[in-house]
Amino acid sequence: MSSALRVAALAIAAAASQSAARAAGAAPADTRASVDQAALHRQECGACHTAFAPRLLPPASWNALMNDLPHHFGTDASVEPATRRTLTSWLVSQGSAGRARPENDRITRSGWFRSEHSELPAGVWSRPSIKSPSNCGACHARADSGAFNEHDVRIPR
C-alpha cells in the first residue's frame, strides 16, 4: 500500500470509528484519530530512532524539524507529502507549548532533559549498549509509547 493510500485509509478508519462511536454514544472520536496518528508516527519516525513523544519538544521545534526532513541531523528522513502533513499537524498540536525551543531542536539539549539525567555517572551514554542519549529505549523500555516513568528505568551495563 502506498504511503498516501495508507494515510487515506487511516483517515477513513478514523471516520468509520467516529461514526460507530457516535452511534454507541461512546467517547469523542479524537482519541481514535490520535491513536492512528501515533501508529503512523511509530512507523515512520520510529524506524530509525525512538518514536519521540510529541510533548518532548515545543511546537516550533516540531515545525522546524518536519519542514527539513531531507536534512535531518545528517540523514535524509524524507517522507511522502501527505504523511508529512499528517504527522506535522499531530506533532505540533501535541507539542509542549510552554517549553523553550532547545538548541538545534534536539530533545537532548533541553534544560529539563539535562536536569532529569544529571545523576548519571560520566561514560554511561557511551556504553555500547546505549550509544547515544537519543537512544531512550536503551533504559526506558516503553519509550516508544511515550512512557518514561522513573520506576521503569533499567540502565544496561
Binding site: 500500500m1 504511503s3 485509509a9 468509520a16 460507530a20 545528517g74 547515544s132
Partner: protein, 138 residues
C-alpha cells in the same frame, strides 16, 4: 478490520473495506523476485550478486556504507549507526516482509542512497544489491 457481517456494516465501514481491499491488491504488493525482475529490466542488464555485495559493504566517499547500519551480512539485526536503534534483518530469508512493498522499498532506497552514495541509486545498483540479498541464507 471490520468484524460484522456485510448486513451490519455501516456505509463508512463498507467504504473502508473497498478502499483497503483495492489498495492492498494494488501495484505495491510484490515478492523480492518481482522487484529484482523490475529493476533488472529497467537496468537492461543482468544483476550480479557479487557486485551487489561489494556495493553494500564498501563506502562511497562518505561516512557510511549500507553495512554500517545493516551489518556486513544482513541476515540478523542491524543497528542504526547514529541512534543505536535495532534494524530488522534486510535479507528476505531472515524477514519475509522485506522487499514485498514497492513503495516502501523505493522510499528507503531514496533516503539511504542519499545518505550513503550522495545521489539516487541506479536501477542496476538496486538490482545488484537485491540479487545478493536474495542469495543470503540465515
Amino acid at each position: 478490520m471490520t468484524t460484522g457481517t456485510p448486513k451490519s456494516r455501516s456505509p463508512a465501514a463498507a467504504l473502508l473495506a473497498v478502499v483497503l481491499g483495492s489498495a492492498c491488491a494494488g501495484a505495491a504488493a510484490a515478492t523480492p523476485r518481482d522487484l529484482l525482475a523490475d529493476y533488472s529490466a529497467r537496468a537492461s542488464g543482468s544483476a550480479d550478486p557479487a557486485r551487489g555485495r561489494a556495493f553494500f559493504t564498501t563506502a562511497h566517499g562518505r561516512d557510511w556504507a549500507c553495512a554500517s547500519c545493516h551489518g556486513p551480512t544482513p541476515v540478523s539485526d542491524g543497528r542504526h549507526a547514529a541512534t543505536g536503534k535495532a534494524i530488522r534483518p534486510l535479507a528476505p530469508s531472515a524477514d519475509p516482509a522485506r522487499f514485498t512493498d514497492r513503495d516502501k522499498v523505493e522510499k528507503w532506497f531514496r533516503r539511504n542512497c542519499a545518505d550513503v552514495v550522495g545521489r539516487a541509486c541506479t536501477d542496476a545498483e538496486k538490482a545488484d544489491v537485491l540479487a545478493w540479498l536474495i542469495t543470503l541464507n540465515r
